[in-house]
């Protein structure tokens, strides 16, 4: 991963009209506070020393999913050319938490951004061969044009924000 790759990723997010913010592990809570409104649900991040603030409900119920304004999850990979994040389905519920809220906040380590699909699929091949069962290549919010014009937010989030964790 080079600074060029990060810049390309940011350009792609810009094109998709997806917001992004850089944050340090210490600054994450403040960044999330600025992005999310109650109720916010989340899944604990798999990064050492990086915790979600207490006000994020990390043990949601189906009712919480239904009511959530925002869902905060880790993203396993960023794909620079496309501005995509890879959302891994895990037993602790990343898939539903990233899907039901109006806003999905994807927290991504800067070092996990790869240039393009060839690198992404090398990584994904390894993931699936080692037993992981689900990965969504998510690019921007959910959308549909089925009702006569492009509308953001069909069944999934209406908005996506990527927080890039600087290390």
């Amino acid at each position: 991963m080079s600074t060029g790759t990060v810049a390309t990723f940011e350009d792609s997010l810009e094109r998709l009209e997806v917001g992004w913010t850089h944050a340090s592990s210490d600054g994450l809570a403040d960044v999330l506070e600025g992005l999310c409104s109650d109720p916010t649900i989340g899944v604990d991040l798999p990064y050492d020393g990086v915790d979600l603030p207490d006000w994020v409900n990390t043990d949601p119920t189906p009712a919480d999913l239904r009511e959530a304004n925002a869902g905060v999850t880790a993203a396993g990979l960023g794909i620079a050319d496309y501005g995509s994040v890879v959302v891994q389905g895990t037993p602790d519920g990343i898939e539903p938490v990233s899907l039901f809220g109006d806003l999905h906040v994807a927290v991504l380590r800067q070092s996990d951004i790869v240039p393009g699909m060839p690198e992404a699929f090398d990584w994904l091949g390894e993931e699936f061969r080692t037993g992981h069962s689900s990965a969504i290549i998510a690019t921007g919010p959910s959308a549909t044009a089925d009702m006569g014009a492009l509308v953001k937010g069909a069944h999934g989030p209406k908005e996506v924000h990527v927080v890039i964790l600087d290390e």
Binding site: D59, P60, T61, P62, A63, L65, R66, D81, Y82, S84, G89, T90, P91, D92, G93, I94, E95, P96, L99, M117, P118, A120, F121, D122, L124, G125, F128, R129, H132, S133, S134, A135, I136, I137, A138, T139, G140, P141, S142, A143, T144, A145, D146, M147, G148, A149, L150, V151, G153, A154, H155, G156, P157
Partner: protein
């Protein structure tokens, strides 16, 4: 007009009126999006070839890959079922649902499930089926069928959807905007998903190595369908299996761009079910997901339904490479004007729809719409897996022809020296043997028009041959290009090259002036020209699905040109559809080496002029433009061959100011625009080109076009004269 033709014309007319605008706006948008989107790829052509190679290999090794997939799916904890046909698949799916005591199945969009009509089957068993893709749901509410394989409700305008929802659901406030309609649907469907017992999806691809399926979506309904209920049934054709996860990459990069012109759709779900994600049990709304016992069940139902037979069929096999992206629908001028309700069969629509319908439903369903493919070939470069879609349509047409019986063969007797076994419709036999009609036409010209010369009135022609009386017939010239050429002496001293100007039927008999212009232009550039007596290319019979006849032409043409090629002469072709025969279709008819020789030796006439000028020929010998404003329409097959730019470059270099049309096809397409059942569609398609050439900016421009058909169509649609670009640049005498 015969009753069958009148009925077909009426259906097309009605769809053009009711659905044409909505379909046209969206498909043209998708198509333009494709052109823009593929430019973001470093190596688009390379990626397509890679995708193609993966599919070729996968279909070749399909039984082995399915065995491997069965092992991986079972070791993952799922079940693989291979269904022979629709009934078999439906029975299995119904039993899965009944075992779960399912009351409601939620579905994400799947054409394969449309093919087997699983909704009807489950509903008959009192199981509620809900389509959660917004477009599919609109159709479910409206009780209509998809008009497009990717955007199923493309034929419905926002206003029509609003009316439908307001009448059906009577919301407190009438719905109006796309945003309101979408949010209403999201809410309604969200509740239905919450209470679902089984989630059914399709699968765009399934990898044999890990049992991973890819779902290409944008709304998020497939994600919810797969994650909320504990039972997931995926339904897909056997052809969806590819070897490895890494093999997904070119498809993921190509499918959105090729289809709706998106760089990538919002979600590519890669799932190896049963997935680890917790189920979401809305019946226990206050039990945390962490405390929910997740015991998922996964059934992959792979459907044969004719596909293994297609795999054994040398002509239809390519259809199985199709990734259902819809590029061939969106790029198709005819599809843009009528949509899948006319240009489609039982399930599948668009160019490749013919192959699918022939393979899974049978020839009857394919025959319903097969003739709407004019062979313009614009889909061949749009297809991300490089399927020769016009060829599949031609093959199916040939097979359909062989099933038809005609009692009126006497009408075209003597005009149809073809190789066909009988059964081909009179209309097709007439157009397929156009070279013979042209010879007769020139013989009678100009003392009487050719139809009278044949002793056939326009009324008879319309009734029995289906030649629309509203279409002006070509005026055959008494002196053919060959006659003219033989009566003169070449004046080139010390020629730089020797070229064989191929006398295609139209140039030889109808548009003789463009042939003479080509001879003058080439000679002015120092080229010695020969106009030999060679048979027509076979394009006419091929476009009628008369493959044996076309092949016979190919052998004769090659025999007639081989010595010239051996002698180092260049083959210069004026008519792009004939050049496309030499450079594309002849590959199917000639030995490989012969095909390579004729393909490499042949040039489009303006491409040839371009090459001569590049190699130092004196442009001053041609007619300079001095800023003359030109409106240029290239030819569909010419653009597929990548030869549009040469004409533009030559004209610009000579000082012409060129504006080029960007419609995919003029709508005439050889015989298509003459046929009474398609005349109105042809004119409707042509109206786009007409519109472009009548804007304030273009209305005074001199009109030039490369193809015979394009010139005929433009002549009928515009009040100003038209000509081939070679006539513009050729010295006047």
């Amino acid at each position: 007009m015969s009753k069958a033709r009148e009925a077909k014309a009426a259906k097309i007319r009605q769809l053009m009126e009711t659905e044409g605008d909505a379909v046209g706006t969206s498909t043209r948008g998708f198509n333009e999006g494709r052109y823009e989107s593929v430019q973001t790829l470093d190596d688009y052509e390379g990626l397509k070839s890679e995708a193609r190679a993966i599919k070729e290999d996968a279909i070749e090794r399909l039984p082995e890959l399915i065995d491997q997939l069965r092992e991986t799916v079972e070791s993952n904890g799922g079940t693989l079922y291979i269904a022979d046909d629709a009934a078999d698949a439906n029975q299995y799916i119904r039993e899965v649902c009944e075992d779960k005591e399912a009351e409601r199945v939620v579905k994400s969009k799947s054409m394969t499930s449309e093919e087997i009509e699983v909704n009807e089957d489950l509903e008959a068993a009192d199981i509620d089926v809900v389509e959660t893709d917004l477009g599919e749901w609109v159709l479910q509410v409206a009780d209509e069928s998809p008009s497009h394989i990717v955007a199923p409700a493309i034929h419905k305008s926002r206003e029509a959807i609003a009316d439908l929802f307001n009448e059906t659901f009577e919301p407190d406030e009438p719905l109006e905007t796309a945003e309101e309609l979408t949010m209403f649907a999201r809410e309604q469907l969200g509740e239905l998903i919450e209470g679902a017992d089984v989630g059914m999806t399709g699968a765009n691809f399934i990898t044999a190595d890990t049992g991973t399926m890819a779902l290409v979506t944008s709304e998020g309904n497939a994600r919810k369908t797969a994650v909320v209920p504990d039972t997931h049934v995926a339904v897909a054709g056997v052809e969806k299996v590819i070897p490895t996860v890494e093999d997904l990459r070119p498809f993921v990069e190509l499918i959105g761009k090729s289809g709706t012109g998106q760089d990538i759709t919002s979600y590519i779900s890669l799932l190896t079910p049963p997935v680890e994600s917790p189920t979401v049990d809305f019946d226990a709304p206050d039990t945390p997901l962490s405390a929910t016992e997740t015991d998922r069940d996964f059934h992959l139902v792979l459907i044969d339904n004719g596909r293994f037979d297609m795999r054994e069929d040398d002509q239809l096999r390519e259809t199985l490479y199709c990734i259902r992206c819809s590029a061939c629908s969106n790029v198709c001028a005819n599809f843009q004007h009528v949509g899948g309700h006319a240009f489609g069969g039982e399930t599948y629509s668009g160019g490749i729809g013919t192959g699918w319908e022939a393979g899974v439903e049978g020839l009857d369903s394919a025959a319903e719409f097969n003739d709407l493919c004019t062979g313009c070939s614009r889909c061949t470069t749009a297809c991300p897996v490089e399927i020769d879609i016009p060829w599949i349509n031609t093959v199916v047409r040939d097979r359909v022809n062989r099933g038809e019986v005609s009692e009126l063969d006497w009408l075209v007797e003597g005009l149809t020296p073809d190789e066909e076994p009988g059964g081909v419709s009179l209309q097709k036999r007439f157009f397929g043997n156009f070279e013979t009609a042209a010879k007769v036409g020139s013989f009678f010209a100009p003392v009487s028009n050719w139809a009278a010369g044949l002793g056939v009135s326009r009324d008879i022609m319309e009734r029995f041959l289906g030649i629309d009386a509203r279409r002006e017939l070509p005026a055959f010239q008494r002196e053919t290009l060959k006659d003219w050429f033989e009566s003169r002496t070449s004046r080139v001293d010390d020629p730089v090259r020797t070229a064989v100007l191929y006398p295609d039927v139209y140039t030889n008999h109808v548009q003789v002036e463009r042939g003479k212009a080509a001879v003058r232009a080439l000679e002015a550039l120092g080229v010695d020209v020969i106009v030999p007596d060679v048979r027509s290319s076979g394009r006419a019979p091929l476009s009628q699905g008369m493959i044996a006849t076309a092949e016979d032409h190919a052998h004769d043409v090659y025999a007639g040109l081989a010595e010239h090629i051996d002698d180092g002469r260049d083959i210069v072709v004026i008519e792009p559809s004939d050049l496309a025969m030499f450079q594309s279709e002849y590959e199917k008819f000639l030995p490989e080496k012969s095909f390579e020789r004729i393909s490499e030796a042949s040039y489009e006439v303006m491409e040839y002029v371009f090459g001569l000028l590049e190699h130092g020929a004196d442009a001053g010998a041609l007619s300079a433009g001095a800023g003359e404003e030109i409106a240029y329409h290239s030819h569909c097959q010419q653009r597929t061959l990548g030869l549009e730019g040469h004409t533009e470059a030559v004209l610009s270099d000579l000082g012409y100011d060129v504006a080029t049309s960007d419609v995919e096809c003029c709508g005439m397409a050889g015989s298509f625009g003459y046929k009474s059942e398609y005349y109105e569609l042809s004119v409707d398609v042509g109206s786009e080109l007409q519109g472009q050439f009548q804007t304030d900016e273009n209305r005074d421009r001199t009109v030039v076009a490369s193809g015979t058909s394009c010139l005929e169509q433009l002549d009928s649609l515009l009040s100003r004269p038209t000509q081939h670009p070679i006539q513009l640049v050729a010295p006047r005498r």
